[in-house]
């Protein structure tokens, strides 16, 4: 170990409390960076994952006209195959494309349920239960009962929705809806499962029923409102999308949209991530003020000593090195402690989640924002925060280090 490193290390023990306070400030800011970054990353992942799972897949195929009126859930602009071929043939062709792993059909329609006093408007989702279980995390949200099965008049509903209509798993519920021919129809279903999700959409705004039953009841055999495509991974979307567009071009009615094109929220999340990265930087800079203040005090206290070292022949560079090493050690120790603490806290909340259900009660169910946020505890994030702490603290110490190095030995030895 170099003599200067040894000396710098020993110097940290001159005023232990001061060193501890400085290291503590760095540790705290790095810990906050690890947690805040994990939190924001977790939130972005959650918004993206929910959007992909419950709205768009990696690529969404809809009729162009349907896309324009999507909020109204129209049934007259359905996906019903390419040209003369039917829906199954279309799905088959899509599945054959290189890079496409799964094609998920959904039939979404508007419906109403009576609570006794009022009518609740809902979204009905006709789905293939097997594919939904394979692609989404809905199984984790299914807290009671079971998933719907094809060919049966049964539904799965969210906890809040069941509370509103005062039903339980095992009860019957009558749902009123418009068919594709615009005739009003009412059907009674058995409630076979209860969902509990941080996603308001699943909890209180939609119910799931088997796709084949939805097609039959709505008079939409061999039709769905959308097809969601799942690629091998998100990175393959740009590669797969042109092939799909080429396939769809033979029909001319359909749009193929990547998940980013169908979300208003994801671009804002990306922007927020960029802004937060700057916030993390300033957070560590703030902690550096304490360290720089400590270092300036140290330089003032050790002026005579610096003069003596310069007199003995330690050059300007050596004096700078000594103070940078001292600051660097504080930066490394503080950042390491902060990164470890941040990682532990983030890991805990990554399991337990942070529940904002109450705070988000007023947010529209259409906004795919999960009220339970699971921060993302990643090694990359922890290492990033550690390095950010070390680099910024060491750079900040340049100010007092230069101050020390610029002292003239004769002036310094007088203690000026």
């Amino acid at each position: 170990m170099s003599f200067l490193v040894r000396l710098a290390f020993k110097n940290l023990f001159r005023h232990r409390l001061r060193t501890v306070v400085s290291i503590g400030a760095i540790a705290f800011s790095v810990m906050v960076v690890v947690f805040a970054r994990g939190y924001v990353t977790g939130m972005v992942h959650s918004v993206t994952a929910d959007h992909i799972q419950y709205n768009s897949g990696h690529i969404k195929i809809v009729q162009e006209e349907y896309y324009r009126q999507e909020r109204l859930l129209p049934l007259n602009h359905s996906v019903d195959g390419l040209g003369e071929g039917g829906l199954d043939e279309m799905i088959g062709k899509l599945e054959e494309l290189d890079g496409v792993n799964m094609v998920i059909p959904r039939l979404k329609f508007g419906a109403m349920v009576s609570t006794g006093d009022e009518l609740l408007t809902l979204g009905g989702w006709g789905v293939n239960p097997e594919l939904e279980l394979a692609f989404t995390d809905i199984e984790d949200s299914l807290v009671e009962g079971r998933m719907i099965q094809p060919g049966r008049l049964e539904v799965v509903m969210g906890t809040k929705l069941l509370d509103k209509i005062d039903r339980r798993v095992g009860d019957k519920v009558t749902v009123v809806f418009n068919t594709a021919f615009n005739s009003l129809s009412g059907v009674t279903f058995e409630i076979v499962g209860r969902l509990k999700s941080g996603l308001k959409l699943l909890n209180e705004a939609v119910f799931l029923l088997p796709l084949d039953e939805a097609q039959r009841l709505l008079y939409m055999d061999d039709q769905v409102t959308e097809l969601l495509l799942v690629t091998e991974d998100v990175g393959k979307i740009e590669e797969v999308l042109p092939k799909i567009k080429a396939l769809l071009s033979e029909d001319g009615r359909y749009l193929a949209l990547s998940y980013r094109e169908t979300s208003d929220l994801i671009p804002f999340m990306d922007l927020a991530e960029l802004i937060y990265n700057q916030v993390y930087f300033f957070l560590v800079v703030l902690a550096c003020v304490i360290v720089v203040n400590t270092m300036i005090m140290i330089v003032a206290e050790r002026t005579k000593e610096i003069g003596m070292m310069a007199a003995l022949g330690l050059e300007r560079r050596g004096i700078m090195e000594l103070f940078l090493i001292e600051g660097g050690i504080m930066g490394v120790v503080g950042s390491l402690l902060g990164a470890m603490a941040g990682w532990l806290i983030t890991s805990y909340f990554a399991e337990a989640g942070l529940d904002f259900t109450q705070a988000m009660a007023g947010i529209d169910a259409d906004v795919p924002f999960n009220a339970i946020i699971y921060p993302s505890a990643s090694l990359g994030n922890t290492v990033f925060a550690f390095l950010l702490g070390v680099v910024i603290v060491t750079l900040a110490c340049l100010i007092p280090a230069r101050r020390a190095a610029n002292l003239e030995p004769t002036v310094a030895m007088r203690g000026a």
Binding site: F3, M308, A311, G313, E315
Partner: protein
């Protein structure tokens, strides 16, 4: 060849708009191996002169030759190199690094020279500590040493790199007379055994007793230059 040659050396400090002359034309030659005391009242220019010959400051006028080398022509880096390799300093308040042991304080000076292996450094540091009478106290920190012991560490630190010149600014100012005598005896012994040149600045008559050459400085001028075995030379 003389170790130090000063010709017409002046030093003027600027205090705002006022020029304060500290040295007014010093002519002085110091041969290698001399044991010289510089005395005079406070503000007479003793410390300024030590700073100039110690390569810590540059003169306003005149020339200083150190071992034949004109100091005025050297950069700060080159002056630092001369201090590191050829000049030892002993300060009035010891100026030891409090977090380092006696051994490490001495080691610091020789590490700066960067010419020796770890083994050589250990031998030299232990040897010089033994020579100044600090055997067995190597691992003590300055706060565990008496004033005399601290000054011995400072002497060892100045001598460990075997410099050509040792400058001591009031080395006995903080010591009682018994301890002063012990410390001076150590320095006199080093002067005899190693042939190191010593220049002291002092008010202490005891230090003057030990010196073989006395230089009195008043108002920036050398007013007395007396060698023990020579007649008084008045300037």
């Amino acid at each position: 060849m003389a170790l130090l040659e000063l010709k017409g050396v002046t030093k003027v400090y600027q205090q705002g708009k006022i020029e304060v002359p500290a040295l007014r034309g010093i002519d002085l030659t110091v041969e290698a191996g001399e044991f010289t005391t510089l005395f005079g009242p406070s503000g007479s220019g003793k410390t300024t002169l030590l700073n100039l010959v110690g390569c810590l400051d540059k003169p306003t006028g005149g020339t200083i030759l150190f071992d034949g080398q004109d100091l005025a022509a050297l950069s700060k880096k080159e002056l630092a190199m001369i201090r590191r390799e050829h000049i030892g300093f002993i300060f009035q308040s010891y100026n030891l690094i409090p977090v380092l042991t006696a051994y490490e304080n001495v080691e610091f000076a020789i590490r700066l020279v960067n010419k020796h292996s770890d083994r050589e450094i250990k031998d030299k540091v232990m040897g010089i500590l033994a020579a100044v009478g600090l055997e067995g106290l190597e691992n003590r920190r300055p706060n565990e040493l008496s004033g005399g012991q601290k000054q011995r560490v400072a002497i060892a630190r100045a001598l460990v790199k075997e410099p050509k010149l040792v400058l001591a600014d009031e080395p006995s100012a903080n010591l009682d007379s018994k301890t002063s005598e012990e410390v001076l005896a150590v320095m006199a012994k080093m002067n005899r055994e190693l042939g190191t040149t010593f220049i002291f600045s002092t008010h202490d008559p005891l230090v003057m007793d030990y010196a073989r050459r006395l230089l009195e400085i008043r108002d920036g001028v050398i007013t007395l230059d007396r060698r023990r075995d020579e007649a008084i030379v008045s300037h």
